[in-house]
């Protein structure tokens, strides 16, 4: 893809970073959003705060109804926060309508104007900004090149495939060189193959343009593959912000551990705490866990262990984590072992089929669970 320059500064953003106190592209400060009037109120967001850095691919991830789209619409200006404030490169956005914010959105169903050509769709934002005609023509041409659809300028949106419409929606939102691009589940309307291809393209586009992307999705795979950082949300609250690796390997709480990937939970008692390590007891077994937050000896807690960080051996010590192997499920690349612990907890163990791992434990026999170092995580609840 050709390089794009994005030096035409976007709408009403002439004051160059006047606020040194915040270098964040977007700062969300104690934002709360309540819909409806007192008897039938719905809290969509309850006091959410975080920063999105400049030039970052940032993802808001969560199940539907978690408030992620509401947050996006607050940044875009389609809704106003009930409490709190949103800053864009240090500037307050309060009271600014969507057309006065240097932020553009790629809508879920694209919302391409059906009565305009592709070229007019892409040029719409620039036209509204009062950019002169030759400049619009030039930039539109460049955007069409960027999305590799040079020959489609005169078509109507209805004549394009879903993937092409998606690219046009991107080009339209990028054409005015927004300071932040908001993407509301833009891939959800595409089929699987196209979706996977678009992930790569989107990431590439973000790196080439250097624009901050704020991406909303409920698809964890999408989030993990593209994002620099992810904010996991649930029930109107922020659960955790971090890189894909952080979120997967060091989940903060039960929701995050459960929502991202597969995991096993053990109900444990904390015995000793030292720094970010804790020694926990589960029946006769002792586990060394990393802690997600402050904890005290003697309290009860949950430990999360990913299935691929567990392996099975024959029981040898008294303080081994022991259970009965109940079932083997062959999954192609790996095999899933279901182990029932003595207290009834069911544990999933995943072993790759690559190396010859012919397990000598038969179904119905006792097995000990071996945990990789650092794989057990004591969660905050």
């Amino acid at each position: 893809m050709p390089e794009t320059d994005v030096n035409v500064s976007a709408a009403r953003s002439d004051s160059p970073d006047a606020a040194p106190q915040s270098r964040a592209a977007v700062a969300i400060k104690a934002v709360r959003k309540v819909f409806g009037l007192p008897p039938a109120q719905v809290t969509a967001l309850s006091s959410v705060s975080f920063d999105i850095a400049d030039n970052e691919f940032f993802t808001l991830l969560g199940p539907s109804g978690c408030g992620k789209t509401t947050l996006l619409r607050l940044i875009a200006g389609f809704e106003q926060p009930t409490d709190g404030e949103i800053l864009l490169f240090g500037e307050h956005l309060e009271g600014l309508p969507p057309n006065k914010r240097p932020v553009n959105t790629v809508f879920q169903q694209y919302a391409l104007f059906p009565h305009m050509s592709i070229r007019d769709n892409i040029g719409f934002g620039l036209k509204m900004l009062g950019v002169d005609k030759s400049e619009i023509a030039q930039r539109t041409k460049r955007m069409l090149e960027l999305i590799q659809m040079e020959s489609f300028g005169d078509r109507r949106p209805s004549q394009l495939s879903g993937g092409q419409q998606q690219r046009v929606a991107l080009a339209r939102a990028l054409a005015p060189s927004p300071k932040v691009l908001l993407l509301d589940e833009p891939l959800s309307a595409l089929d699987l193959k196209l979706r996977q291809a678009m992930r790569v393209e989107l990431k590439q586009l973000q790196q080439e343009t250097g624009i901050t992307f704020v991406f909303v999705t409920h698809d964890q795979e999408e989030a993990l593959t593209m994002s620099d950082r992810i904010a996991v949300m649930s029930a109107g609250e922020l659960q955790q912000v971090g890189s894909a690796k952080d979120i997967y390997e060091a989940p903060r709480n039960r929701f995050v551990a459960d929502f991202i990937g597969e995991t096993n939970f053990l109900d444990v008692t904390v015995e000793e705490v030292s720094g970010s390590q804790a020694l926990c007891r589960f029946g006769p077994a002792r586990l060394t866990c990393s802690t997600a937050g402050p904890t005290t000896a003697g309290s009860a807690g949950h430990v999360s262990i990913r299935p691929e960080r567990l392996s099975l051996t024959r029981p040898s010590n008294d303080d081994d984590l022991v259970g009965t192997l109940e079932r083997l499920i062959y999954l192609g690349t790996d095999t899933q072992h279901l182990v029932r612990l003595d207290d009834g907890t069911e544990i999933t163990v995943r072993a790759q089929n690559a190396h010859d791992s012919s397990l000598d434990i038969a179904v119905g026999e006792k097995a000990a669970l071996k945990i990789d170092t650092g794989a057990a995580r004591l969660l905050v609840d």
């Binding site: 409806g36 967001l45 539907s64 509401t70 409920h218």
Partner: protein, 309 residues
């Protein structure tokens, strides 16, 4: 699908909330001033005293309503006896409107069903053919019907020429002619809502009925008709209500013996009777009947929606 309450909530489609009152003002003013106010004024007029050359004298009187039920002689001083003629006119109107509704249903349902089960490409054409006559001026349609069924009109001539009849049969100025006129006027009102319901109907239900040993007529009776009943009811209301107050069909096709409410009202203002309070009262009674029918319908609709139909 995804997102918070904002995605589906009212907040997302309120781009013009700030100026909605300005946008609504013209409709409020025009309809309020030129229809709602006139209807209220009509109610007032129905309680006034008649002036002999049309118009009213501003004196409270129940005479207009009294006249519907009692005959007090030419000068109003005789002992009251029950006056049947107006009750009969109302009764005939209701009866005619009901018959017209049933006729439209019997012909309209199969038609709507037939059209809705056509392949996609010919369906719109059938629907178009059924609705075209509706767009032709109602007066012209009624006049055409009058021309066709006159005593020495084409229909009688052909029957005579074909030897099917010895002498012309009388069709014009009969109840039958009024029925035919009302049917002709309002048939599309029956077909369109039923068509809409049948089109949405899931034919797997008919197949399930057939699978469970129902023959097609049983399936129609027990499965299809209950499923499309909202459309049938809507169609019946849409035919019954205008039929009740119809003027052209009874006036042009029915003649003096088949007087309906519409003609009775017209007589009071345009014709010789010139009794405005009485005409206003008759209009009020007609309006009340129509509103009762519509209210029953609205209530039933609301219940249907609650039950998630």
């Amino acid at each position: 699908m995804a997102g918070g309450p904002a995605a589906g909530g009212g907040a997302s489609s309120s781009t013009f909330a700030g100026i909605r009152h300005w946008l609504l003002l013209p409709s409020w003013l025009v309809i309020g001033f030129f229809l709602l106010l006139p209807v209220l004024l009509m109610l007032v007029y129905s309680f006034l005293t008649k002036d002999f050359r049309g118009g009213v004298i501003w004196e409270f009187s129940l005479a207009a309503y009294d006249q519907f039920i009692f005959d007090r002689g030419l000068f109003g001083d005789e002992p009251p006896t029950i006056e049947w003629i107006y009750i009969q006119i109302f009764w005939r109107s209701i009866w005619q409107a009901l018959l017209a509704t049933i006729l439209c249903l019997v012909i309209g349902f199969p038609t709507a069903y037939f059209i809705a089960t056509r392949p996609q490409n010919t369906r719109m054409l059938w629907l178009f053919l059924i609705t075209v006559p509706y767009w032709v001026n109602l007066l012209i349609r009624t006049v055409s019907m009058k021309f066709l069924i006159r005593d020495n009109g084409p229909l009688n001539e052909w029957f005579l020429a074909a030897g099917l009849l010895d002498s012309p049969i009388r069709m014009i100025n009969t109840d039958f002619a009024v029925q035919l006129g009302l049917f002709y006027s309002y048939l599309p009102f029956m077909v369109l809502p039923i068509y809409a319901s049948v089109e949405r109907y899931n034919f797997a239900l008919s197949e399930a009925a057939a699978d469970l040993y129902a023959d097609r007529w049983t399936a129609l009776r027990l499965v299809v008709i209950p499923a499309v009943s909202p459309g049938i009811i809507a169609g019946c209301i849409l035919v019954f209500v205008p039929s009740l107050g119809a003027f052209l069909a009874p006036d042009l096709l029915g003649g003096a013996k088949n007087f309906m409410i519409g003609s009775l009202i017209e007589e009071q203002f345009k014709g010789n009777a010139g009794n405005w309070p009485f005409g206003a009262a008759a209009s009020m009674i007609l309006l009340t009947m129509v509103l009762i029918v519509l209210m029953i319908y609205a209530r039933q609709q609301a219940r249907g929606e609650r039950e998630g139909r």
